[in-house]
Symmetry: C2
Subunit: 210 residues, 2 copies
């Protein structure tokens, strides 16, 4: 798994001309970083004097942020595989009309799969931004900037993942499916940006008041 | 160095209640991811048929993005150290007036150092966004989304780093210094956001036209 690699080796692989890992993998890795920062805020709040009233809530948050953090490496691998399967279909023969048709049908299936993995990554990133909001509101004040960084990563990686959805949608013929996906994308993006702004507002105010 | 750790171990450390690594380290790590993606676009363009006219320009870009990518691990360590030195100064005795004065003077110095490291990280992240623009404009069209992800990471990590500048400024007494830093922060943020929007615009149009 890519996430078992030393970070430096992953960065070398990312910078290289090999198409994998690429932006999709970067989005998943950044999502994991964002989720980890939300977890950090929870871990700095749970059991802390002065935060007894939010202890249960922070434990619930932590469970959710950890679930996302631990899912991200799997989504990263799934994204890589889905991309590989598109490339595999591209290489199929297209001499006869029958071959052309079979290749195009398989490609259409695989573009969908390759759109859906980054869509899932984007959905998880939206959740990270959502979790960063109560973390910023109720978590340890000394870690409020970490909740802010979590929200920034969540939103940026959501947009990064959606670019990879968009690339695949550009090759999909089913207009109804494409329209439905685009609607979902716009909703995810709008909500995440608004929530991130809310988080940043709390973070700036908390730092100024500390 | 943190970047020699397997990514999973780094994420575990980030999520833990240890204050280091925290949001500042996350910002540097994300900056390295963003720089690596700009490098990837350059590497997918250099020597490629159809991109002869931009070959020299892409080689220059690559040199710059790689320099930033390779500087980020060092900035991550420097950020961690600067934080440690603030914590060390906090623990100094403050029984006598003399001790109080000495402690406060040292703290003021160390808050400055702890503000300046993330400011440098933010400046490098701004450069990543700047480099993503020609990468998106002139680079391999098949990698345009990677330039987009590079810009998204650059801008988000710039904002993340600035939160860590802000935390330290909140404790600095020298109003002129604080005002100067705030001015620099606002300029960096404004330019980076505008440039990121330009990059995203090119990316969306290129994907739609491909």
């Amino acid at each position: 798994m890519f996430t078992d690699m030393p970070m430096n080796a992953f960065l070398d692989a990312l910078a290289s001309k090999e198409p994998v890992p690429g932006g999709g993998s970067g989005a998943a890795m950044g999502g994991a970083l964002g989720a980890a920062l939300v977890s950090m805020v929870c871990n700095l709040t749970i059991g802390k004097k002065g935060y007894e009233a939010v202890d249960q809530e922070m434990r619930r948050l932590l469970e959710q942020s950890e679930a996302i953090r631990l899912e991200m490496p799997r989504l990263l691998e799934a994204d890589t595989q889905a991309y590989g399967q598109v490339m595999e279909a591209y290489r199929l023969p297209r001499t006869t009309d029958e071959e052309k048709k079979a290749r195009e049908e398989l490609l259409q299936q695989r573009f969908r799969a390759a759109a859906e993995v980054p869509m899932t990554i984007a959905e998880r990133c939206a959740q990270i931004v959502n979790l960063a909001l109560p973390a910023a509101k109720m978590g340890n004040k000394w870690a409020v900037s970490d909740a802010g960084v979590g929200a920034l990563f969540g939103e940026a990686c959501l947009r990064a993942a959606l670019l990879n959805v968009e690339i695949n949608l550009a090759s999909i013929n089913d207009a109804a499916y494409v329209a439905e996906m685009r609607q979902k994308m716009a909703a995810l993006e709008g909500t995440a940006t608004a929530t991130k702004e809310q988080v940043m507002d709390i973070v700036h105010k908390t730092i100024a008041g500390s």
